[in-house]
Symmetry: C2
Subunit: 212 residues, 2 copies
DNA sequence: CATATATAACTGACCGGTCAGTCAGTAGCA
DNA sequence: TGCTACTGACTGACCGGTCAGTTATATATG
């Protein structure tokens, strides 16, 4: 909250940090948008949390909507990267790769900060359809395609059964998303460990429900 | 939009229908909230769509927020009912019941009107946590519990493999939810038939991915 | 090192538009 | 004639966005 004085006995009212500002403002915007929604969030609140006045925010962003767009934009790339990294990890062993993806995704999405952007996107998508669509194309569909591709390679390699690859992708992602939504959006607080959850998911994923 | 005149050559400016009003207003509210979000929706819009003036809305509801709460309340029960009906259908054959549930749920949620309330809940849950929690307890968790119970009965009957019932429930619901979200919130428009999707889901659900 | 000058970073009071909620009055009905 | 359902103009608060003025820092000068 209060800026640390450097040496002068009187703390300066503000410091010049033009290059760090945009990121600080976006951090604050993500926090406030996530917790109040886009409309209910006041630019004043965002400015306050970033340690600036409202006017300063408008030095870096044209409008409240620009704040939203800039935020989504900044958050999308890292997630897309992470997805790519997950999919590329050990591409020659589809089974092990799938285990890795499920385990990591389960753990990642359990973190409220990681899920903050998806949560925000879900909340604003009705008002800003392009944001929703952009997010789907760059994140959701990338993940789905990666898993579908992984499945196809696994079928060729003889380690996966023949099946609809799209359905496989949904079977991998769906349960993880469902849990995250219950927890981060609908306020559930079950206390199963992420590893236990991933293991149970993987067991069912590979073996199915049928007795044999 | 325009009220149908009953017999008079000049259409009356309004009709006395006090008992039908609340539902009409809630219908309009659901439409406008879903399409614009809670804040961006104007009470004037809702009134207009219901064929009334804004003042009339306040004869039936205390506030905009009361409109939201009344709406969720009204929409929760039917869905809970429907879930109960699905779960109770043919309780002595767990396998067939699961097939039925997946097929029906896949079809139901494909309808934008059916998914309108869940979509709205997801959007407002950040601002009104009790609404999210209420919806989870009365709808989401009911569905999860119903499927988990079904699985346990199936295990006892020897038709399902032993497994974590919670994980089974997520494996049943998750993929359906994921598809609905992509379609209704993120604007995806794939054109797989619902029956094909349900079949692919069921195949994987029962048989899993492992080769045998 | 001290002082003057320039300018970038920032503040906060203010304006204008929007909208939830109110209420005095009007239309339909019995 | 009286009652109920309803209208629509109005109000008051709120908030996005602006801008004249202030403060911190960099640079120039002695």
């Amino acid at each position: 909250m209060t800026a640390a004085p450097r040496k002068a006995p009187t703390a300066p009212k503000f410091r010049r940090r033009a290059d760090a500002r945009p990121d600080e403002i976006l951090d604050a915007a993500l926090a406030v948008f996530t917790e109040k929604g886009f409309d209910a969030a006041r630019v004043d609140d965002i400015a306050g949390r970033a340690g600036l006045s409202k006017g300063a925010v408008y030095l870096y962003f044209d409008s409240k909507e620009a704040l939203l767009r800039g935020l989504i934009e900044r958050e999308v790339s890292p997630i897309a990267m992470r997805l790519k990294a997950l999919a590329d990890a050990g591409g020659d062993d589809p089974q092990a790769t799938l285990r890795l993806i499920v385990t990591m995704a389960t753990q990642l999405i359990d973190d409220a900060r990681v899920f903050a952007t998806p949560k925000l996107v879900l909340a604003v998508a009705a008002r800003f359809p392009e944001i929703g669509e952009h997010y789907r194309k760059r994140v959701v569909d990338q993940a789905i395609d990666a898993i579908a591709g992984l499945h196809r390679r696994g079928v060729e390699a003889g380690v996966f059964r023949q099946a609809d690859s799209g359905a496989v992708a949904r079977l991998v992602m769906g349960p993880i998303l469902l849990f995250a939504m219950r927890k981060h959006i609908l306020g559930a607080k079950d206390k199963i460990s992420t590893t236990a959850r991933a293991e149970a998911h993987l067991d069912l994923l590979f073996e199915g429900l049928a007795v044999r």
